[in-house]
């Protein structure tokens, strides 16, 4: 018999045995149940975020309509212009700085329901204003912090944590079980390579939970997401590759452990220990080390710098005002508390705050990037970390897409500031024409943001230990002890 025939025969045999094993059906039931619940849950969360975005947009439309109406009333002379600049729909500084602030949101991708990623930590929409970035960037959505700490039961959790256990449950006694039953000696006495038979067994025992999981995920997505999946062929293909590579890693790990030639109980313990190491210990050490090496910046530093800058600007404004009043004693328009003076003072303070906050936030961002870069390098120590990251990237809720989003928000903020601050500096009042030319934000998904290459390098990162373990398993199974 050729090796291929042996392999196929071994697989057939194994399937006939396995289907009589209640453990298989238990595992399959768990796969279907958990994948369905995780997808349903992801859908609930994404729908809630979408509802929050829709509500924010409605609120924005109402706000703008009210401002437009106020402006029309003033221009038609129906109402007197307000004496407080922050109530005036014509005042560029206060309109751009708050009352007309624009909602920006990162649109969900079709596969968003598969991984919550970082999306629960950011608000569904940011309200960009002409103020300094720190005034809107740190807004948070209301969430029970204990829930953020625990994390959600999403598909990424199921695939990273539970999926390996389904595979291990069926493969931990791949060889040891046969030895304990005495059937390994029987196999070894046949004119076939034990290794090939074991490979056949592994293919069936690991392949079935893997294929059923992939099928369950696809079926669930097709049911929940429906037609839009057509536009997500590429991420879907990458998702299935990720599942196969990650599953294969755990399967060859089980084979390699079996190759050590110990009993089933020992294998089970060692595999659980490996699971704990890969999923819990290594990730927690990676995080602790990258946080200790490049500590997250203290945002208080930024707060203080912005406050100090505004105190200075305020003081400078006092001095300028005193000089002006010395030179123009008759002038009343620039008196303390007057409309014009309040606007100019606010402008001066805001410009000073912007200059300082942006400088410090850039330095903070650089520090955060260093921390992330280190964590991403260290992530190669744990396939679970790579898989977790890859799943969020595929879902569009990972770091790369958020980074791209914040970069685009930054550019939009510049544009928005430019529009309103330039008018405020020229002391121009806003007109109805200006209202229809407010800058608009729309997020452009850029295929060049490197999501694919990141996922690919993550998969290679899982593939390398896979190959090492496969070599180890092949070696171990060749010299496998036949009797206990």
């Amino acid at each position: 018999m050729t090796n291929m025939n042996v392999l196929v025969a071994a697989m057939r045999c194994e399937w006939r045995i396995l289907r009589l094993d209640p453990a298989l059906w238990l595992v399959l039931a768990m796969i279907l149940g958990m994948v369905a619940y995780a997808l349903y849950n992801g859908e609930t969360l994404v729908a809630r975020q979408a509802a929050a975005v829709a509500a924010a947009n409605t609120e924005e439309q109402e706000r703008l309509a009210k401002l437009r109406k106020g402006l029309a009333d003033i221009q038609a002379g129906r109402v007197a212009p307000p004496d407080a600049p922050f109530r005036d729909p014509r005042n560029a500084l206060f309109v751009g700085g708050g009352s007309a602030a624009a909602n920006v949101a990162l649109p969900a991708q079709p596969l968003a329901i598969t991984a919550i990623g970082q999306s629960d930590l950011y608000p569904a929409t940011l309200r960009v204003s002409a103020g300094s970035k720190d005034t809107f960037f740190f807004a948070d959505e209301i969430a029970n912090p204990a829930h953020l700490l625990s994390g959600s039961f999403d598909l990424a959790f199921v695939l990273v944590f539970i999926y390996p256990l389904w595979i291990l449950a069926l493969t931990y006694n791949l060889v040891s079980g046969e030895r304990e039953q005495g059937t390994l000696a029987l196999t070894a006495s046949c004119p076939v390579q034990v290794r090939t038979v074991m490979a056949g067994k592994l293919l069936v025992r690991a392949g079935i939970p893997m294929l059923v999981t992939v099928a369950a995920v696809f079926a669930g997505l097709a049911l929940i997401v429906g037609g839009t999946l057509v536009s997500a062929v590429q991420p879907l293909a990458v998702l299935s590759w990720a599942m196969i590579v990650y599953g294969a890693f755990w399967a060859v790990l089980a084979a390699a452990v079996n190759g050590l030639g110990r009993d089933s109980a020992y294998n089970a313990l060692l595999l659980v220990a490996a699971w704990i190491g890969v999923l819990l210990i290594v990730p927690s050490l990676v995080n602790a080390w990258s946080e200790a090496r490049y500590p997250s910046p203290s945002r208080a530093e930024m707060v203080l710098a912005v406050r100090a800058a505004s105190v200075d600007a305020d003081r400078e404004r006092n001095a300028a005002l005193a000089r002006y009043q010395d030179e123009h004693p008759q002038e009343t328009e620039l008196q303390r508390g007057s409309y014009r003076e309040r606007t100019l003072r606010r402008l001066a303070v805001q410009l000073a705050a912007t200059a300082h906050s942006e400088e410090i936030m850039a330095a903070h961002e650089a520090q955060i990037q260093r921390q992330h870069a280190l964590a991403e390098r260290l992530a190669y120590a744990s396939p679970a970390l790579l898989m977790h990251d890859a799943l969020a990237e595929i879902a569009g809720t990972g770091r790369s897409r958020y980074r791209a989003f914040f970069a685009q928000v930054d550019r939009f903020h510049q544009e928005w500031r430019e529009f309103f601050i330039s008018r405020a500096q020229a002391e121009q009042m806003l007109t109805a024409g200006d209202y229809s030319h407010f800058p608009q934000f729309s997020f452009a998904d850029n295929p060049g943001t490197g999501i694919l290459s990141r996922v690919a390098s993550a998969l290679i990162g899982i593939g390398v230990p896979f190959l090492l373990l496969a070599a180890m398993a092949a070696r171990g199974l060749r010299r496998c002890r036949v009797v206990g």
Binding site: A146, S152, A292, A384
Partner: protein
Amino acid sequence: MNTVAADIAVRVVTTSGRWRVAHAVAVKELLDIYRDARFRWLAALTLLLMVCALIFSVDQVQRTDRDRAAAAQGDRQIWTAQGAKDPHVAAHFGQYAFKPQSPLALADPGIDAYVGSAVWLEAHKQNEVQFRAARDNPLSARLSSLSLAFVLQAVMPLVAIMLGFAAFSGERERGTLRQLLSLGIRPMDLLAGKGLAVVGVLVAMLLPAFIGILISCFMFADSSMFSLGDQVARLVWLALGYVLYLGGFAALALAVSALSRTSRMALVGLLGFWLINCFLVPRLMTDVVRNTLPLPTALEFRQAIAQDKKKTFGHDESHPAFVAFRDRVLKQYGVTRVEDLPVNFRGLSLREDDENGNRIFDRHFGTLQEAYYRQDLWRAAPGFVFPLLAIQPYSMGLAGSDTRGQYHFTSAAEQHRRAIQAIVSDDLIRNGRYGDSTYVAGPDLWARISAFSYRPPQAWWALSAQAVNLFVLLAWCLAAGLLAVYAVRRLRPV
């Protein structure tokens, strides 16, 4: 093994004390555990993890303390140096309150990374606490993070399982259980002895962790803000919670071992329970609670406040409520024009508006907080079956790093905000003249307004909030103990 059995038999005959039997069993078990290389590895790794967790936590806590102290000092300087200005403008400029970290965050950082650390105390408005540290961390931080609480909650139960899973089934497989029972040893005494050994080892492993926290607390805690006695009291209660949590696991392991036909089945069952308890159920309950008891969105919350605030007048002097208030004040002082009032009407109206606003904030923030508590209560409810759900909030609560601790801080900060507003409005009432926009207050007023100084709650406050979870843990431990008694009563020697 035969000699051990014989030795026990001799002891039984000579002393005929049940305690002696349990003691002998415990000593034998401890010797076995000590000789087991697998256990030595596991214990060494667990202790190493504890040391790492403590080192990283000390580094993090110290850094946070340093940053906070510098920030508080810096904000004070900016506040006092703001120069002469209209007191109400200064109130708008406001102060910042920075949250001090509880020293026991060393043991359990809890939700610290998922809540803000600084809150702006400005006029008219209760702000939310800003800057969740988790937003800056890499995605991997959501997978698992190293802390003593993680080691105690997730790793130590494994140690308990490893110590107990073969206690009875292993003896049965080796045939020694039959011998032991044939000597007339009661299964209950066997359980007592084995239980003593397992719990003894667990306590011995907890001790270095708690001593480490205690020493770090004495070395690094800010004793001007946190009383050390209070931290010790919290630590003692914390230790009690963990003993109940792990004691329950030890009892469960012994029970399952007595009930299972083979050690392998006992191990698989116990590992399955460990997985469900530590990983599946917490996330499952989080989602169930979030979906069944939803919170408002930030927008809804702010809109609801804004809706109520519309009924108050703010700076709007044409608001009907403003007119009504003005008429009331004029009547009270028996004058017809605000200019004739003996006090500054602008200050009075600011104070009135603040008081109206405070009632609104109390109602809305209070309701939100209750919604959090309700979610937390239901999430912890299945804790007597899956004890992680109870030990997690209990541990965070005693460590001062839970939602209640955060609310205690935000409430104190809000009281300080109100105190600032009251002093500033009072200054305007007494010193300002109505209609005069040039009145300014100077540095002496800013200096008179104290900096925010936070008194963290006492241990009993945290404990009373966590009493339910303590009872749940007690119930878990008792239930597991009863299961062990039940299992051992029907112990079959073969």
